[in-house]
């Protein structure tokens, strides 16, 4: 079964059509990279899937179950949206860490709040909290930050902050992890450490969607590449197909431009 299916997603802001019918699907454990120039709709696509924007039309299915349908999008309640959001994890370009919390607190905040809803929370409060904190430490260790547990975001480098934000997303065990240009706010040196973390996650069979401008990295880590242009998918396929032998003129032009710069 497909873990994620997107069908004919459309979104306009006022008179500007940003997504003009985007469809794609993913298998469990797949890594999908979305390429395209600025304004092609990549970020809007991610934001619509994560319910940060409401798509005007189209459907989103997770493991065959419809979690969003443009036809009755007004009827979805806030709690249904929250439940659907928990299928996904999101890593932002600008990290969006909570500045008043330490690295560990950033990671454990949401799990601790969600745990309050479980029926045995009152009896096993202490045990549940300890488990969540132990798990948070373990996740931060996975992204190489075991020695920064108690540091605040302002005390961390950009790369370390982004690793905390990856850990924060992982802590809720999402089915799919989305990255919105995770390295665009970082210098080349720090970019490397984030790309390494994402590569490690790919090895652990975590399903990921990555919006990126790092062509070389996308080619290296992805099972599938989508090239977006002007609100539609211009080309999709394996990295060999899309990056090495692009057929679409826009893809060719974009890759030429980017590789020239590199």
């Amino acid at each position: 079964m497909k873990i994620l299916e997107i069908k004919d997603l459309c979104k306009s802001f006022g008179k500007t059509d940003v997504l003009k019918g985007v469809s794609f699907s993913m298998e469990q454990g797949e890594v999908l990279s979305i390429l395209g120039s600025s304004g092609s709709g990549k970020t809007t696509l991610l934001r619509c899937i994560n319910f940060l924007e409401k798509a005007d039309k189209g459907e989103i299915l997770v493991e065959g179950e419809t979690i969003f349908s443009g036809e009755n999008s007004d009827k979805i309640s806030a709690s249904e949206i929250r439940k659907a959001q928990l299928n996904f994890g999101m890593v932002f370009q600008s990290f969006n860490l909570f500045p008043q919390y330490s690295a560990l607190e950033n990671v454990t905040l949401a799990p601790l709040l969600h745990a309050k809803k479980s029926p045995d929370y009152k009896q096993n409060k202490k045990k549940i909290k300890e488990e969540i904190i132990a798990e948070g430490k373990e996740i931060l260790a996975r992204v190489g930050l075991l020695d920064k547990l108690n540091n605040y975001p302002c005390e961390l480098s950009g790369g370390q902050q982004q690793r905390v934000s990856i850990a924060r997303a992982l802590a809720l065990k999402p089915k799919i992890l989305f990255f919105d240009e995770p390295t665009s706010a970082l210098d080349p040196e720090l970019t490397g450490e984030i790309l390494k973390v994402i590569k490690d996650l790919a090895k652990q069979n975590i399903t990921m969607v990555i919006v990126t401008h790092e062509i070389g990295f996308a080619k290296n880590v992805s099972d599938k590449i989508i090239f977006m242009d002007n609100g539609v998918i211009a080309e999709e396929g394996t990295p060999q197909e899309v990056i090495d032998n692009p057929k679409n003129e826009r893809t060719k032009a974009f890759l030429n431009l980017v590789t020239q710069k590199e």
Partner: protein
């Protein structure tokens, strides 16, 4: 010497009333201010515009006039027996809640959208996002303007003397009439100064406490 002691005791007695106005105003105006700030940011015009109008009227007229309206207004329209102190509290709470609400609004609106979005993608409710993520950052940002308002409130309590509340300034003025001396009024300044000094120290401490993070 005995007159100095009499004046000091009288001013200390007035100070208690000053404390009472100060404390009760904060206790009620801070939460009310937060509610008014939500109202002024409401998506619904029927909520937003009446609240905005209220803020405009309260901030656009002198507090002394508001004290007189609430102090003597009820009697004019036939409602007698309202305690003067209650009138003072209504005027102070309403006035300060409106000023606080604008500080809260400024603080809340200064928090980047990304903080709300990060909370949303973690499946948190709007209430959880506000109280667990946004509010603490707002508090840090509004400490300096809040300290201004607190100090202004200390001194504004003296306005209560216009509707016969026996706070420090009233008690000091009393000696002008009874003893024909002016210095108790100057002396009353020392009490305000000391009170504000303590508050300044407390706010300095809070700012330092919140200094462990940036942003």
């Amino acid at each position: 010497m005995s007159i100095f002691i009499t004046v000091t005791l009288s001013l200390l007695e007035g100070l208690l009333t000053t404390f009472k106005i100060f404390g009760l105003t904060l206790l009620m105006a801070l939460p009310l201010g937060l509610i008014i700030s939500f109202g002024s940011m409401s998506r619904f015009a029927v909520v937003k515009w009446p609240i905005k109008t209220l803020i405009w009227i309260i901030r656009g007229t002198p507090l002394m006039l508001q004290l007189i309206v609430f102090g003597f207004g009820p009697g004019l329209i036939g409602i007698n027996g309202m305690d003067t102190f209650v009138a003072v509290m209504i005027a102070f709470v309403l006035n300060y809640a409106c000023y606080f609400s604008e500080i809260f609004r400024g603080g809340i609106e200064s928090i980047p959208k990304g903080q709300y979005e990060a909370g949303a993608v973690l499946g948190l409710t709007k209430t959880q996002v506000f109280f667990k993520i946004i509010l603490k950052q707002v508090i840090k940002r509004i400490v300096p303007p809040m300290s201004n308002e607190f100090l202004t409130l200390v001194k504004d309590t003296s306005l209560a003397n216009t509707i016969m509340i026996y706070e420090i300034t009233w008690n000091a003025k009393r000696f002008m009439n009874s003893e024909h001396i002016l210095w108790p009024l100057f002396y009353s300044g020392v009490f305000y100064l000391a009170f504000c000094g303590v508050l300044t120290l407390i706010f300095g401490y809070i700012e330092k406490k919140l200094d462990y993070y940036k942003g």
